[in-house]
C-alpha cells in the first residue's frame, strides 16, 4: 500500500448517504483506497453498488443539500470532503477530472465541442480565447479526432458516439490533471469503438502519468488495464488487490461470482453465469455480510455469522496488498459450481 503522501489520490473512510423520506440511502460506506501517479485502479461492482456515488464524491460534486459525504478524499494533497466551493473549483478539472458515462448527455448540446474543451482550459489558465481554442484543437487532435481543427466547430450531435467520448476525454485531460476519474467510460458506446476508447485512455494515461480511477460494472473492461482492482458490493469494498492476483485467485465468493459472469476471464463463453439474485437495497441493507442472501457459502460458515456480523476488510495472509471482507476461512476453495444454487 502506498502512503497518502506520495499518492495522487488518497481516499479514507469515504461515506456517501442520500437522505430520503424513507431514510438514508447508504450509497457508499467506509471506502478507502489510494492511487499513485501513473497507476490505474479499477473499481468494479454491479449496477447500484455505489460506484457513481463514490466517483462523484472524488470531485466534490455532490449537492450538499441532497447528499451527506464524510471521510476524506485527498487529491494531490488537498482535501475535497467539506471543502468550500472556491477550493473545489480550483481542484476540479485541474487536479482531478472526470470522464462521464454517456458523452451524449455530458456535452452541452448547444455549444461547439472545441469551445467546450477550450472552456475547460480557460477555467484554469489566464489565456486568450484564441490561445485556448488552439489548445483545444491540439487536444482534440491528440485524442484522435480526425481533422480536429474543423471538427472543433461541430456541435456534439454532428459527431458519432465514439468521437463524442473522445471530446469528453480531451476535456478531462486538457489541464493535465493528477487524477482522472472515468465512470463507465465505454458503457454507453457502440461495442465496435469501446476498445478504441479504452486504448486511448490507457495511452494518454501512460503518456501523462496521471492516476486513473476506472469505474465499471464489467470486470472484463479493466482486467487488462488496471494495476489494482477494488470490488464494491452494496456500497462497500469487499475485495481489493493487484489486478493479476485478484483475477487469478479471487478470495471471496462475490468476486469469484463476478469472474464467472465475465467472458474470457473466469468462464468460457458457454459457461457464463451471472451472479444469481440481485443486489440489496441500500436503504435497508441486510444485517451481517451484505452478500449473504445471495452467497452459496453463507450456510457453511459456523454460527450463521454471515447473517449477523459484518466481516471486516482485512489483509489476506501471505499475499501483499490484498484485502478481503469475508467470514469464510481463507483455505476454502471457491471452485467450479460452488457459487449459486
Amino acid at each position: 500500500m502506498t502512503s497518502a503522501a506520495d499518492a495522487a489520490l488518497a481516499v479514507r473512510d469515504l461515506t456517501v448517504r442520500f437522505p430520503t423520506d424513507a431514510g438514508d440511502v447508504r450509497a457508499v460506506t467506509g471506502l478507502s483506497f489510494t492511487v499513485r501517479p501513473g497507476q490505474t485502479l479499477g473499481v468494479v461492482g454491479e449496477s447500484g453498488s455505489g460506484k457513481t456515488a463514490a466517483a462523484t464524491a472524488l470531485l466534490g460534486l455532490h449537492d450538499p443539500r441532497r447528499a451527506r459525504v464524510t471521510g476524506s478524499v485527498l487529491v494531490a494533497g488537498t482535501e475535497v470532503v467539506g471543502a468550500r466551493e472556491p477550493v473545489l473549483r480550483r481542484l476540479r478539472g485541474r487536479s482531478v477530472a472526470m470522464v462521464f458515462q454517456d458523452p451524449t448527455s455530458a456535452l452541452h448540446p448547444f455549444y461547439p465541442v472545441g469551445r467546450q474543451v477550450a472552456e475547460a482550459y480557460r477555467a484554469h489558465h489566464a489565456v486568450s480565447r484564441a490561445d485556448a481554442a488552439e489548445r483545444a484543437v491540439a487536444m482534440l487532435d491528440r485524442v484522435g479526432i480526425p481533422a480536429a481543427r474543423s471538427r472543433a466547430g461541430d456541435h456534439p450531435h454532428q459527431l458519432s458516439g465514439g468521437m463524442r467520448q473522445r471530446v469528453v476525454i480531451a476535456m478531462a485531460l486538457v489541464n493535465g490533471p493528477a487524477v482522472v476519474v472515468a465512470d463507465e467510460p465505454t458503457t454507453a458506446l457502440d461495442v465496435t469503438v469501446q476498445a478504441d476508447v479504452l486504448d486511448l485512455l490507457r495511452e494518454v494515461q501512460q503518456e501523462t502519468g496521471t492516476a486513473l480511477v476506472h469505474v465499471t460494472h464489467d470486470l472484463g473492461v479493466v482486467a487488462e488495464t488496471a494495476d489494482r482492482l477494488l470490488v464494491m458490493y452494496a456500497g462497500r469494498a469487499v475485495e481489493a488487490g493487484p489486478a493479476r492476483d485478484l483475477l487469478a485467485r479471487p478470495r471471496m465468493p462475490y468476486t469469484w461470482g463476478l469472474l464467472q459472469s465475465t467472458p474470457d476471464l473466469g468462464a468460457r463463453e458457454e459457461r457464463l453465469r451471472p451472479v444469481p439474485g440481485s443486489p440489496p437495497s441500500l436503504l435497508t441493507p441486510p444485517d451481517g455480510c451484505p452478500f449473504h442472501p445471495r452467497c452459496a457459502f453463507a450456510e457453511t460458515v459456523p454460527g450463521g455469522r454471515c447473517g449477523t456480523d459484518l466481516p471486516d476488510l482485512v489483509p489476506v495472509s501471505g499475499e501483499t496488498g490484498r484485502l478481503r471482507r469475508c467470514h469464510l476461512p481463507e483455505d476454502v476453495p471457491l471452485g467450479e459450481g460452488q457459487v449459486g444454487p
Binding site: 454517456d102 455530458a106 452541452h108 448540446p109 475547460a120 476535456m171
Partner: protein
C-alpha cells in the same frame, strides 16, 4: 432554411387573411347597423334616409362584394362613402365612422406609442422574469426561492387592469412619483419618451415577469439536473457561469417559445396599459372603437394588426429558436 421561412410566411399570411375575413363576416352578419349612427348624425333619421345611406356606403351589397372592395383597397386607392365621399389611399383600411379620417393614417400615427409600450414592457418582463427565475432555480428550496414563487403567484392572481389602476392611483396620483406619464414620440424628445413611459413599462413588466420567472424557473430546474451541467461543474467553472452560461443557454429555448405563444397576452396587457395611463396608442383606440356606436373599420384594422403582430412574433421566435438550438438548424 429558406423553405422553412417560405412555408411559415405562407401560413402566416393565411392566418391573417382568415382572421380578417372572420372579423368582417362577424360584423356584417351581426345585429348592428353601421349606417345608423351616420344617419342620426345628420338629423332626423327616417327609414328612407337610412336605406339611402346604406346604399351609399355599399352596405346593401353582399359581404363577399364588400370584402372584395376592402381587399382591392389594400392595393389601389378607392373612394369610401361615410356621410360624404372620402378618398382613401392604398393601403386603405377604410374610413373611421367616428373621426371620418383614413384608418391607415391614424393607425400609423398611433402605432409607435403602442410599440413603445409593448416592447419596453416585454423587455422588462423578459429580463426580470428570466433573471429571477434562474436565480430561484439555482437556489431552489431556499426561503428566497419560496418568496419568489409565492410573490409571483400573488402578483399574477391580481387582474392586470386592477394592478395597473392601483399603480396609477398610488404611485402616480398619490405619491406623485411619475410626473408626466404619457406618450411623447421618441423622435421628438427621447427623455420625455422614456420618462413618460417608465411607469407603464414597470407595471406591464412586473406583472408579466412573474409568469416568466415561473416558466424560467421550471425550465432551469430541469436543465440544472442535466448531465452537461455536472460536466460544467466538473470543469471547475464558477456557479455563475454554470447557471447562466450553460444552464440558461438551454433553458431559454422553451421560454422563447412561450413568449411567442403569449404575444396575444402582451397585446391585451398593452391595450389596458394605454387605456389606464392615457396613452394615445392603438389599444386605447380599439377600446373606443368597441364602444357603441361601433367603429367597424377601426376595429377591423386593430384586430388585423393584432393578428399580424402575433404571427410575426411567432415567426421571429421560430427563427430565434434555430439560432439557440443548433440541432434545429441542421435538421
Amino acid at each position: 432554411m429558406a423553405g422553412f421561412v417560405a412555408r411559415r410566411l405562407t401560413s402566416a399570411l393565411l392566418v391573417v387573411t382568415l382572421t380578417s375575413m372572420f372579423v368582417f363576416a362577424l360584423f356584417f352578419l351581426g345585429p348592428g347597423n353601421p349606417a345608423g349612427p351616420v344617419c342620426e348624425a345628420q338629423g332626423r333619421c327616417t327609414p328612407e334616409r337610412l336605406a339611402a345611406i346604406e346604399r351609399q356606403m355599399g352596405l346593401d351589397q353582399s359581404v363577399v362584394t364588400q370584402y372584395a372592395a376592402f381587399v382591392r383597397g389594400l392595393v389601389v386607392d378607392r373612394t369610401v362613402v361615410v356621410g360624404g365621399e372620402h378618398t382613401c389611399a392604398a393601403p386603405c383600411l377604410g374610413i373611421s365612422y367616428g373621426s371620418r379620417q383614413e384608418v391607415t393614417e391614424e393607425l400609423a400615427r398611433r402605432f409607435p406609442a403602442t410599440l413603445s409600450v409593448a416592447v419596453g414592457g416585454a423587455t422588462i418582463y423578459l429580463l426580470v422574469g428570466v433573471t429571477t427565475g434562474s436565480l430561484a432555480a439555482r437556489w431552489r428550496g431556499t426561503t428566497a426561492d419560496r418568496l419568489l414563487v409565492g410573490g409571483s403567484l400573488l402578483v399574477s392572481s391580481v387582474p392586470y387592469y386592477l394592478l395597473a389602476l392601483l399603480a396609477w392611483i398610488v404611485l402616480a396620483l398619490q405619491w406623485g412619483l411619475f410626473p408626466g406619464t404619457g406618450y411623447t414620440p421618441l423622435t421628438e424628445d427621447p427623455v420625455a419618451w422614456a420618462s413618460g413611459l417608465l411607469l407603464p413599462w414597470l407595471v406591464l413588466g412586473v406583472a408579466g415577469s412573474t409568469q416568466y420567472a415561473r416558466y424560467t424557473r421550471g425550465a432551469m430546474v430541469e436543465t440544472l439536473g442535466e448531465d452537461y451541467i455536472t460536466t460544467a461543474r466538473a470543469k471547475g467553472l464558477s456557479p455563475r457561469r454554470v447557471v447562466f452560461g450553460h444552464g440558461l443557454r438551454a433553458a431559454i429555448a422553451p421560454v422563447l417559445t412561450i413568449f411567442g405563444l403569449d404575444m396575444a397576452a402582451l397585446l391585451a396587457g398593452t391595450v389596458f396599459t394605454e387605456q389606464i395611463f392615457g396613452i394615445d396608442g392603438v389599444g386605447s383606440w380599439a377600446l373606443e372603437a368597441v364602444r357603441a356606436p361601433q367603429d367597424f373599420p377601426v376595429l377591423h384594422a386593430t384586430v388585423l394588426l393584432g393578428a399580424v403582430l402575433v404571427v410575426v412574433a411567432n415567426l421571429v421566435v421560430d427563427l430565434a429558436y434555430g439560432l439557440v438550438d443548433p440541432r434545429v438548424r441542421t435538421s
